[in-house]
């Protein structure tokens, strides 16, 4: 066991932090308020290589690993959870399945622009009636004239949708087969019959452009089927296993960011003639939060390292996400309590962090789904 971060990872953490503090933090409140997608920072991250951290250099990536990627999401999410999820959804949910399941031609055509950040990615699984029960896909794909696929249906709650160029989409190719009738496709923005629907007005992560995707006789080239027909659901589940580490890192970052802000605040704010940091309640609250956040961090890093070592990590990712997400909601709520009335105003970032934290308990598998995964792995049936 070695819990130290090596020099290479630490130097990149410093790079992510410098960028997050200088470029992301100053606009976090504004983009939350206006729901403006931070395209200028996405471009800067693309230039720096932050949109392809875990992919090999030959595919336009930075040639680093999952651990460094989640540390990037963590640093970004400390100051802006929206920016954290933009990177996470792009990397884990769009570029990764193309890297894992795509053909060499698909990697050349789609992974390279995604990993180099020239194009932004999104992932479409969820539908109005297929949330946690994602096997209930209503979107259909039919092969016409052995030449192209025709997609019909809609997806909802799709992160990055309004800004993305490349979409990894799940659709039913054979309803009679249930799960095994779902296939995966790469759909490009601008393909005939594909449009972006309404943008959700969300409680948190308000600038991440969460929209509906609409397919009306959408024509997708035959060669844009990913992997084997009928394997889409399996690919989606494997993709979400990895995605969960990214979201766990986002949750971890939110908690760390909230604690950082609160530690500063409690040393400035005085009540009853003392800094509120001098009250034992404040000290114990923050100590407890810090300890739990450190525990979450170890779980997140453990899951990332297991993935990098090609070990089984499904249960580890689920544990990391369950613990980190629950902790993020808990920590931000407690931090806001330490701020008191000021924390409830938009003059301080803590209310935004509390709103942002909640989603980590819901998307890419609710906390309840994580518990199903973990208990299943334990053999408790």
């Amino acid at each position: 066991m070695d819990f130290r971060i090596d020099e290479e990872h630490q130097e990149l953490i410093d790079l992510y932090r410098e960028f997050a503090q200088n470029e992301v933090k100053p606009i976090a409140a504004e983009i939350d308020e206006t729901e403006r997608f931070p395209i200028e920072n996405v471009k800067k991250m693309a230039e720096m290589g932050l949109l392809g951290i875990p992919f090999p250099e030959e595919y336009g990536g930075a040639g680093m690993d999952t651990l460094s990627y989640v540390q990037c999401v963590e640093e970004l999410s400390k100051v802006c959870a929206t920016t954290g999820v933009i990177v996470s959804a792009h990397t884990s949910l769009c570029a990764t399945p193309i890297y894992l399941f795509g053909t060499e031609e698909q990697k050349q055509k789609y992974l390279i622009p995604l990993a180099s950040g020239e194009k932004l990615g999104a992932f479409g699984l969820t539908e109005p009636s297929a949330g946690t029960d994602s096997s209930q896909q209503k979107t259909t794909a039919v092969l016409v004239d052995d030449d192209h696929w025709v997609l019909n249906g809609s997806k909802i709650f799709i992160t990055n949708a309004g800004a993305a160029d490349i979409f990894f989409i799940l659709a039913m190719t054979d309803k009679s087969l249930g799960n095994k009738g779902i296939s995966a496709f790469i759909v490009e923005k601008g393909m005939p019959g594909f449009s972006i629907g309404k943008q959700e007005n969300k409680m948190g992560i308000r600038a991440s452009s969460t929209c509906e995707l609409i397919f009306e006789d959408c024509i997708v080239p035959k060669e844009n089927l990913v992997g084997e027909i009928g394997k889409g659901f399996k690919y989606a589940m494997m993709t979400l296993d990895g995605g969960r580490i990214g979201i766990a890192a986002q949750a971890l970052g939110i908690a760390e960011g909230a604690i950082e802000e609160t530690v500063k605040y409690v040393q400035e704010r005085t009540q009853f003639g003392r800094r509120i940091s001098q009250f034992q309640n404040t000290q114990f609250e923050l100590a407890k939060m810090r300890a739990n956040t450190e525990a979450a961090k170890l779980l997140v890093y453990q899951a990332a390292c297991a993935k990098d070592n090609h070990e089984k990590y499904t249960h580890l990712a689920a544990m990391a996400k369950l613990v980190a997400a629950t902790n993020a909601s808990d920590v931000t709520r407690r931090c806001l309590q330490l701020y008191g009335g000021y924390g409830y105003t938009k003059d301080y970032p803590i209310e935004r962090m509390m709103r942002d934290a909640k989603i980590t308990e819901i998307y890419e598998g609710t906390s309840e789904v994580q518990m199903m995964v973990i208990s299943g792995w334990m053999g408790v049936k």
Binding site: E8, E11, L12, L15, E18, F19, K44, E47, M48, G49, L50, I53, E57, A62, G63, M64, S68
Partner: protein, 266 residues
Amino acid sequence: MNILVCVKQVPDTNEIKIDPETHTLVRAGVPSIVNPFDTYALEAGVQIKEAIGGKVVVVSMGPEQAADALKTCLSVGADAAYLVSGREFGGSDTLATSFILSNAVKTIEEKEGAPFDLILCGKQAVDGDTAQVGPELAEHLGLPQLTYAMDLTVEDGVVKIKRECDDGYDLMTTNLPAVITVVKLPTEPRYPTIRSKMAAKKKPIPVLTAEDLAIDVSRCGLKGSPTKVKSTYTPSREKSGVKIAGLPADEAAAQLATLLTDAKIL
């Protein structure tokens, strides 16, 4: 186009502590960065290289740790880096520093196999704030110098700069080779990329010693430094600003307008 950028590693703090005995900077426990004006000089050099081709070399004089500053430079566009280091150089004032650097320039030119067309420095280091090393370096090398460049372009062996001044800028040109000192640019220096950062880590940084420079050591370090620091202190703020308080907004605005008119600002 061969470009040399001189950089200094400085403490990253606005509250610099001074040793009351020696009147020198207390460096212990303070993280170090590349002097901000030098990062603009480097960015300017890299932009020129990108526009017309060439090579950017960085040099720093300092202790071993100054190699970290050079690594940072290598990650944001510098192609090669040299560290000038040795006990003989410790305690150098600006005269000795610029003398050592001028010798280093010649040594690096030999190693690189070509003379430098353009030498860039930040206008001053944020720790010492003298703004003397750049101009003195030009004098030691017998090169023309332009200072306080906020923008620079190179064309047909001529460098054109916008020299920052209080009420705008002056347009100036000189023939290359030349030494230019650089102020804050309109654009911020670039961030490293993950790849450039990893590549910079692997690049060797040759150390140039007094022996390598074949330098007259009596003109280096404390021996070669006529400057004697008598005392260093933070200047006291003599005038505090005017505060308009306790008035309704419209009356406060009217009073502010009067004050500004009286001061001939409006």
